[in-house]
Symmetry: C3
Subunit: 274 residues, 3 copies
Amino acid sequence: MLKDKLDNLRKNGALIHNITNYVTVNDVANALLACGGSPIMADDEEEAPEITAICGGLNINIGTLNKRTIPAMYAAGRKANELGHRVLLDPVGSGASRLRTETARGLIREIRFDVIRGNISEIKALAVGTETTKGVDADVADAVTEDNLSEAVEFVKSFARREGCVAAVTGAIDLVSDGQRCFVIRNGRPEMGRITGTGCQLSAVMTAFITANRREEVLESAAAAVCAMGLAGEIGFFRLSPGEGNATYRNRIIDALYHMDGDQLEKGARYEIR
Amino acid sequence: MLKDKLDNLRKNGALIHNITNYVTVNDVANALLACGGSPIMADDEEEAPEITAICGGLNINIGTLNKRTIPAMYAAGRKANELGHRVLLDPVGSGASRLRTETARGLIREIRFDVIRGNISEIKALAVGTETTKGVDADVADAVTEDNLSEAVEFVKSFARREGCVAAVTGAIDLVSDGQRCFVIRNGRPEMGRITGTGCQLSAVMTAFITANRREEVLESAAAAVCAMGLAGEIGFFRLSPGEGNATYRNRIIDALYHMDGDQLEKGARYEIR
Amino acid sequence: MLKDKLDNLRKNGALIHNITNYVTVNDVANALLACGGSPIMADDEEEAPEITAICGGLNINIGTLNKRTIPAMYAAGRKANELGHRVLLDPVGSGASRLRTETARGLIREIRFDVIRGNISEIKALAVGTETTKGVDADVADAVTEDNLSEAVEFVKSFARREGCVAAVTGAIDLVSDGQRCFVIRNGRPEMGRITGTGCQLSAVMTAFITANRREEVLESAAAAVCAMGLAGEIGFFRLSPGEGNATYRNRIIDALYHMDGDQLEKGARYEIR
């Protein structure tokens, strides 16, 4: 079922406009190129809507949010909505500062997102107003585990229903829901958390997946992206030599994505639907 | 003939001021260090001319153009002209938005560039006002091929004559012309297009080549940079192991540049002059 | 003696707020994750103090200084001082422009830094007002060598005393002093200078070391960070294959940091105290 999501991306391509942070932007671009998409980065309000218009999808990431680029996010988002393009929000660090939480909430109010993707802390900050976060990683107490899985699935489903979009909450166990069904995904490696930006890469790759596939299948396409990134993390880890650490691992993951095809994804994806 | 261009760079060094995008800036810095140059990045209007003054060359790249840094581009460009420094323009995404096209044109009107380097779409956007572009890659219909080579050579020559500089149009076949002669270069690998920023790296490396060599040889120096980058792409590709993709390839190219000497460049360069 | 400095970092973690340049920021984040710390980047004045407040340490790096982020540096620095957090300044390119020199001096006047870390040119620019610098590398004439070591040690000690902080001057020989004692460190490889950002990485890693250890041991913690980074440079160099250059070396250094433990650091550190 996930196979054709990647095949379509490789076949159709997907030009993605990214308004994203400067920390992980290079890996974001290479991850997009690895999976069959193409990146454009443009964050000035004056040109953002024009760039959005020539792309197929828009990926908004608030990782190094600043007042100069916030208007570009709104302008690009409105243009994408107007043109019926796919739009994804990655509310990095939401809950860590008022600026981030309020900007993410403001964007959600004004822009119709196809997917909101973050860790559990970030999504909780948007949902319930709790304002604690441990950097850009999920608060450990709030991690999704086998023990609290049912509760977490319900939370993600209700968030997706309330926001009228697909919600993707990633961590040790990943949850992707459209409010009715929830993909529970167990791909990936814990060591991915020792690399900066695997979440940002996933958001960009996910935007490419949902852009290259039909809107009716945004849930499956988003889930396919999560499986693809997690599987790339498994393949990349397996290919590490002794002494190689997080810097080389970063490259191996993008390399694995570069060589992945639909069959490999289909075989390697580990998920259930609840 | 190209050998001494790299030898001079390794011997003389070249401190290059880069006002460039935040997507590929790290690779740009490492590519400069690999070929024997040194990078400084500074994009605030207040300090840009001072930084230009202590450097030998200036590389202006509009990849993530924004209104904050445009005045720095003008200020640095004017200072470089005043001091007789080498100056290169990489009009990334020119044609993709009015802001980019008009900024590139404005810079060309006010600053005397030694080289303008871009893909065929970007250069066409500057030349004839066509405003289509496929992201940061050349429009496929406008790619330089063996079939349209004569026409493309004429286009690049006439662009170089009109602008009074060297024009470097890179793609599957690379063309570098001063308006009279045109280097037709066949180094490189198509897979380089699956890495973000090989064009940006080339622009920086080219700035170092033209800075470390005599102004009378700017054409040969720019062509040598194109051959060096393409050859590094060939060597890096040859060194890839099964399963390695665009992330590792990115490193292998810079590594190949790091070890390249004039003899290797001379032997590996594949070009004709038309 | 240095062993427990790294062990404490691995055990306690250290969430570090970085206001840093966009050239090397990705490597800075991965180096922090490699040594046991965690990165947050936030440079908007509005959110900087809030982000500082949830972190343990603050790393201010002026590598791509611009007027938008200078107020964030002051605001974050004041908040860190107010909360008693560790604060480090990396005055990249100080001496290369008035903006950088004056911003660094202004920050030193208003913020109480635990450590100021730079190359000898940068520190001299802050100390004596000489305004020459060769890019971001120490002026060769001003390099610390065995011949001028006594003089350099005295200079660093007196700078540290005058500023009331630990001064870390890195280069071929690294000097770290609190004004009374001076660690003279001989770890590292000259080839590290051919990679962009090893200095920036060291500043971030050093902030993590001093944050995870007791304030009374800031001198030893800063010295341990210098030894760790230098040792990682030695290990990474030893692991390079023929044909690998500065791009791969960059990864190998971070990988070595990722696997380093306190015992390895203790055995590999090469220093004397003067």
